[in-house]
Amino acid sequence: MSVFHDSYMTTALVAGTGIALACGLVGYFLVLRAQVFTGDALSHVAFTGALAALAFGIDLRVGLFAACVLIAVLFGALGRRGRADDVVIGNVFAWVLGLGVFFMTLYTTNQSGSSNSSGNQTVNVLFGSILGISSGQAVTALVIGIAVSLVLLLIARPLLFATLDEAVAAARGVPVRLLGYTFLVLIGITAGEASQAVGSMLLLGLLAAPAGTALLVTDRPFVGLAVSAVLGVFDVWVGLTLSYFVPDTPTSFWIMAVAAATYACAVAYSRMARRRRRPGVTAAAS
C-alpha cells in the first residue's frame, strides 16, 4: 500500500492507534458517567499546559501531562466522591483558559524574533500535528495509549458498577472514590496524549464520538466498550488515509469528519431500529 511508503504516515498510524484505543475506552465511561464536560475541560487544560511549557521553554509534553493530571485530580477533590460537578468544572475551565491566553502572550512576545514558528506551535497545540511527530514520539504515544487501555480494562467492571449503582457498589466494598480519581487521572493522561494528535480543540470528538456511537449500537456494556475502542481506531485510520489522498487538507479535519459521520450513521440506525420495534410493541399490546 502506498500509504506506508511515506514514513511519516506509518509514524502517524502508530501514534494514532495508541491514542485512539485510549480515547475509545476512556470515552465510553466518560459518556456513560455523563462526564463529557470533564473531558472537554481537560482537553482545553491541555492547551494551557502545552503553552505554559512552551513559555517556560521546557518539553511541551511535560506541560501537557502535568496540567491535565493535576487539574483532573483537582476536579475530583472539588467534587463529590471523586466526580466533579458542572459548576466546579465550568469555573476551573474558564480560569484555566484564561491562564492559557496568558501563557500564549508570554510565549509569543518572548519569541518575537521568530514569531512565525511560535505561531505554528500554538496552532499545533490547538489543532494537532499528528503528521509532524517523530517516530520516537509515536512509540511513546503507542505505549502510553496501551498502558491507559490496560489500566482501564483492569478497573472496567468495578467502575461500571460504581457508575450505574454507586451506593450499592460502595456497600459491596468497591472503592468508589478511588475509582473516581483513577478514572479522572486516566482522562487527564488521555487528553494530554490525544491533544498532540488532533489538538486540544478537537480532542473531545475523539473521546465522545466513538463512545456515543457504541452506546447507540449496543446495550451490552463490555461489547460497547470494545466497539468504542475499535471505532476510535477506525476513525483515526480512515481519517489519516483520507488526508493522505486528498492533498493539502488537515488530518484533524478528516479524523473529526469520519468520527462525526460514523456517529450520524449510528443515530440514523438506532432511530430506524426503534421505529421498526415500536409498531410491533403496540400491536402486541392491543
Binding site: 456513560l32 480494562l153 483492569l154 478497573i155 472496567a156 467492571r157 468495578p158 461500571l160 458498577f161 450505574l164 449503582d165 451506593a167 450499592v168 457498589a169 460502595a170 456497600a171 459491596r172 466494598g173 468497591v174 452506546l215 447507540l216 446495550d219 451490552r220 456494556p221 463490555f222 466498550l225
Partner: protein, 290 residues
C-alpha cells in the same frame, strides 16, 4: 438473646453531626422474617440501614448483624438504596445490572467466549437467569434498563440484591414512587422471597399499608423514642400517642388499611424537603378511608 437471629439491636441509638436521631431501639430479626422500619419523615429511618451496613456507627447500645459487628458480613447482605429511576436514555440491559450484583466488585473485564470454556461462567449465567425469573423480570431483562418502567426497574434491582443469595435484605423505601398496583406487586414479591428463600428482610417504609398483611414485626421510630413489636401492637392509638407525646389516633378502614391522624408536623429542619412527601402520604391514607 436469640441464637439464630440474623440481626439484633439492643437499646441502640444513633447521632449524626452531634444530634441524637433516635435511641432505645430494640430489635431482633430471624431468617424468613419481614420487618418494617416506620416513622415520620426526617426521623432517620434510612440511618438505620446505614447502621446495619456498618457505614455509620451506633452511638450507644449493641448492634449485631449476622453474628458479627455491622459491616463485617457485607457479602451476605443484599442492599437496595433509596433512589430515583435510571435515566431514560441509559442503554445498558437490565440483565447486565443484575450481573453486577454478582461479580461487579471483581477487577478486569469478562473475557469473550468464556461461556464456552468456563463452567464458573455458565453457573453465574444460570444464577442470573434464575434470580431474574424469581422476581418475574424475564420478559424485559434484556431491554435497556432506562426503557423499563419504575416497577420493572425495581424488580431488576431486587434481583441484583438477591443474586448472591444473601441472608439479609435491606430495602430503603422500595415502594416509593411506584403506583398502587406496582406497590402491591413488589410487596407481594418481597414477602414471597422471605418465605421461599428464608431471607430476613428489613424494609424502610413511610406507608405501612401495602406491606401490612405480610409483616412479622415493625419498628416505629419518632424523634427521641422508638417502639417495636407486631404491627397490631405498635401502630395503635395508645402506643403512638405515648411515642409522639401528643394525641394521635390510629383508624382502621373497612379494608384493613391503617390511617394515622393528628401526628405532629415533621421537624422544622426537614419540612422543606419533605413537605410535599408528607401531604402526599396523608393523601394516600385519606383515600383509603373513602
Amino acid at each position: 438473646m436469640i441464637d439464630d437471629a440474623v440481626l439484633s439491636l439492643r437499646d441502640a441509638a444513633v447521632s449524626v453531626g452531634g444530634r441524637l436521631l433516635w435511641s432505645g431501639v430494640d430489635l431482633s430479626v430471624r431468617p424468613g422474617e419481614f420487618v418494617a422500619v416506620l416513622g415520620p419523615n426526617g426521623v432517620g429511618k434510612s440511618t438505620m440501614i446505614k447502621v446495619l451496613l456498618g457505614t455509620l456507627p451506633a452511638a450507644a447500645g449493641s448492634v449485631t448483624v449476622l453474628g458479627e459487628r455491622p459491616g463485617a458480613a457485607g457479602e451476605q447482605i443484599g442492599y437496595l438504596p433509596q433512589r430515583r429511576n435510571f435515566d431514560g436514555s441509559l442503554r445498558i440491559r437490565g440483565v447486565d445490572v443484575v450481573r453486577l450484583g454478582l461479580d461487579g466488585d471483581r477487577w478486569g473485564v469478562p473475557l469473550p467466549f468464556a461461556r464456552r470454556f468456563s463452567s464458573g461462567r455458565r453457573i453465574a449465567d444460570e444464577r442470573v437467569r434464575e434470580v431474574i425469573d424469581l422476581v418475574g423480570a424475564s420478559a424485559y431483562a434484556h431491554r435497556p434498563i432506562g426503557e423499563c418502567s419504575g416497577g420493572e426497574q425495581q424488580r431488576l434491582l431486587i434481583a441484583q440484591a438477591l443474586v448472591r443469595r444473601p441472608r439479609l435484605l435491606l430495602l430503603d423505601e422500595p415502594l416509593d414512587s411506584l403506583d398502587l398496583p406496582n406497590q402491591a406487586g413488589i410487596a407481594a414479591l418481597i414477602h414471597r422471597i422471605c418465605v421461599q428463600e428464608q431471607v430476613a428482610v428489613v424494609m424502610v417504609a413511610h406507608d405501612v399499608n401495602p406491606i401490612l398483611s405480610y409483616l412479622n414485626r415493625v419498628v416505629y421510630i419518632v424523634s427521641g423514642g422508638a417502639a417495636s413489636g407486631p404491627a397490631s401492637e405498635v401502630i395503635t392509638t395508645e402506643t403512638l400517642t405515648r411515642l409522639y407525646g401528643t394525641p394521635v389516633e390510629v383508624l382502621r378502614a373497612a379494608d384493613g388499611r391503617l390511617v394515622v391522624v393528628g401526628g405532629p408536623e415533621a421537624p422544622a429542619l426537614h419540612s422543606d424537603r419533605h413537605a410535599d412527601h408528607h401531604s402526599h402520604e396523608h393523601g394516600d391514607r385519606h383515600e383509603a378511608l373513602r
